[in-house]
Amino acid sequence: MKISILGGRLVDPANGLDQITNIHIAAGKVIALGDAPAGFEARQSIDANRQIVCPGLVDLRACLREPGQEYKATIASETRAAAKSGITTLVCPPDTDPVADTPAVVDLIRHRSIQAGFARVLSLGALTQNLDGKQLAEMGALKAAGCVGVSNARTAIKSTQVMRRAMEYAASQNLPVFLHAEDPSLADGGCAHEGAVSVRLGLPGIPEIAESIAVARELQLVEQTGVRAHFCQLSSERAVKMIARAQYDGLSVTADVAAHQLFLTEMDIGYFDSQCHVRPPLRTQRDRDGLRTALKNGTINAICSDHQPHDTDAKLAPFPSSAPGISALETLLPLTLRLVDEEVLSLSAAIACLTRHPAKIVAANSSLAIGDCADVCIFDPEQYWEFTTESMASQGHNSPFLGWEFKGRVTHTLLAGHIVFNTRS
């Protein structure tokens, strides 16, 4: 279908563009910027006057709950929520049920997402079989099935030897490893940051060193094995500083942060608000500021949602027994735009954290140059709106941001040249 997006402010970090222009799309691709090519007749024109047009957002971590936990969410429900939020590419961790340690599961996820047609879903394959940290998964087959990386998700690999072998093997397959740095014995039984709030509320703590000790181990193994490594959802300033040091020393490591870690701290738990039960836990103001600084200086260059939709009952339990996680797709862009308002990032740097940089990590497209796939997010940067349960498209309504007022709202999302979300429809 031929579509023209007219008069929008195109912010395309991959091509260094920030200008008011038109975009013309045909057969799923960008065919022209500015004036329409001779003879081009758009079937549909989108008036993007006063709006921002950018590549579709790439979210490096979204649990879609399918297969295995369809009572929490499905690929269809969550990719629809993604489309509503301007996200066109989702990276799904392997901790589904069954675990994505075989091509069959990866195929199933891809087929379901194609069927739904709202967003691209990329899979991370399991690093070890059944994530049990013992035997390597068939990474070659997983790669052939389309996995963009391998990960043991939130299940720690206790044996350093197994982790080393897994990294070596992934390196030979030229697959990046996605690491969740958490020392399992230090984090054992914990549910909140070990500090002022956990001592007051008597919540079993997860100390900051649970993260930094694991980061230290993984960094040494990355150096040893030469694998390309990505650290997922860092939560502490100390860990971020170690990553910065490693990057300075020339190690090929990248890192992301979950949007909520840039806004919330342990204090937000208040009196046991289970919506603030997340893993890694919300830490201190200093950590939050450290994460923001790392975004500014590029140590962390991607912001992800760490989307974890839950059924109502999962959060209706005493804090330690409630399930961790936030249904976060729909707050990814609004929270990131708030960083622009708070002058942490420029608009183009903020958009780069949601497009160009995460796309590079999973080798996905995130550019609107001529000939590129037309995955587009259009949003109104001035629109104020309140985030409510009723406004949510995700099947999971678990969010600590309910009731927040946000500025900036998606109006259209295009996936390969097709409009998959349109506020006016």
Partner: protein, 333 residues
């Protein structure tokens, strides 16, 4: 959604008792004064405080919901309710890990349908009482009888009640809490109570493995040595040491713990001569406290138990006996 003071009503009166944290000094004093009013015997014999029966809660139904085993707390709550002339229902829930929030809240709805007025709750998860208080019908009050490692407010109240009966004033006191601070809901509530009452020096004494990080933020001074920590103490509160602490590599052995932190007459010699020794029970003789001290003249351990009845009566009658407040909410489903 995040209500600030769940346990107070619009007028600032106690609607639930979930934690000591956030209570005003005067509220705590009012509870102690009310408890005192239930004690009839003359103060000559403080150790045998007699509690009279009063009809304050006639017609009210109180449900003891214990998801975790208890003897003293459950019994004294039951006695307290009966002395207030309330009807008491005891529900012991086998506390397997399968008791999930869902069934918990479902069960509460069923109990609400049976016209109960108060839930006294004990649960192994920190925050359980808050969760229940958030979800009960507006006419129901919740008393926290111990949630995980968070709070045990009535225990702390009966402890300070016992201290007041012996020492009178709080301001000049030096109090030392000894033992497993890390896992103790009793210690957390005692710390909040004693700091709110403004005592001059509050200490915790234990090896580092049993002291949570940043506990100083609660207003205590940390000691790792008994001799230093007990020096000039007016009150020593011993905490129970759970056997499972040996497994988690927190302590090498009971013997070594007793050697370093067990309360003996010898260690107690550096405290004030009129020091009082307390313990929330049940005591492990020869682990955290020597029998000679536990049964000695300075021990008030049994008195604590009997004071528990008056204090729990005070809390229940103050929470339930408020003049009717939200008329409109009385008829809510």
């Amino acid at each position: 959604m995040r209500r600030r003071n769940l346990q107070l009503d619009e007028q600032g009166r106690l609607r639930h008792l979930l934690t000591i944290e956030g209570l005003k000094r005067q509220q705590i004093v009012d509870i102690l004064d009310t408890a005192e009013s239930f004690i009839t015997s003359s103060d000559q014999q403080v150790r045998n405080a007699q509690v009279r029966k009063v009809p304050l809660l006639r017609g009210k139904t109180i449900v003891n919901l214990f998801f975790e085993a208890s003897t003293r707390t459950l019994t004294t709550f039951e006695l307290a309710a009966k002395r207030l002339s309330a009807d008491v229902l005891k529900i012991n829930i086998n506390t397997s890990a399968t008791v999930k929030g869902e069934s918990l809240l479902d069960m509460l709805q069923n109990l609400e349908a049976m016209q109960c007025d108060m839930f006294v709750v004990r649960h192994s998860d920190s925050g359980a009482a808050h969760l229940i208080a958030q979800h009960v019908a507006p006419h129901i009050s919740v008393i926290n009888a111990g949630d995980g490692q968070h709070a045990h407010p009535t225990q702390a109240l009966l402890d300070i009640f016992t201290i007041r009966r012996h020492k009178g004033e709080f301001a000049p006191l030096t109090v030392a809490i000894v033992g497993d601070i890390m896992h103790s809901r009793v210690a957390r509530s005692q710390i909040h109570a004693l700091t709110t009452l403004g005592i001059s020096d509050l200490r915790v004494i234990a090896p580092k493995t049993l002291i949570p990080s940043q506990v100083e933020g609660l207003g205590v001074h940390v000691y790792h040595d008994m001799k230093e920590g007990l020096h000039n103490a007016d009150v020593v509160i011993m905490l129970r040491l759970q056997k499972e602490r040996m497994q988690g590599a927190l302590l090498p052995s009971e013997q070594e713990y007793f050697q370093d932190y067990g309360l003996t007459e010898k260690k107690l010699a550096v405290a004030k001569t009129d020091v009082m020794v307390m313990h929330p029970g049940p005591i492990n003789r020869g682990v955290e406290i020597d029998s000679e001290v536990a049964d000695g003249p300075r021990s008030v351990i049994l008195e604590q138990v009997s004071n528990g009845i008056a204090v729990r009566m005070a809390v229940m009658s103050m929470v339930l006996g408020r003049p009717p407040m939200d008329k409109e909410s009385e008829g809510a489903p």
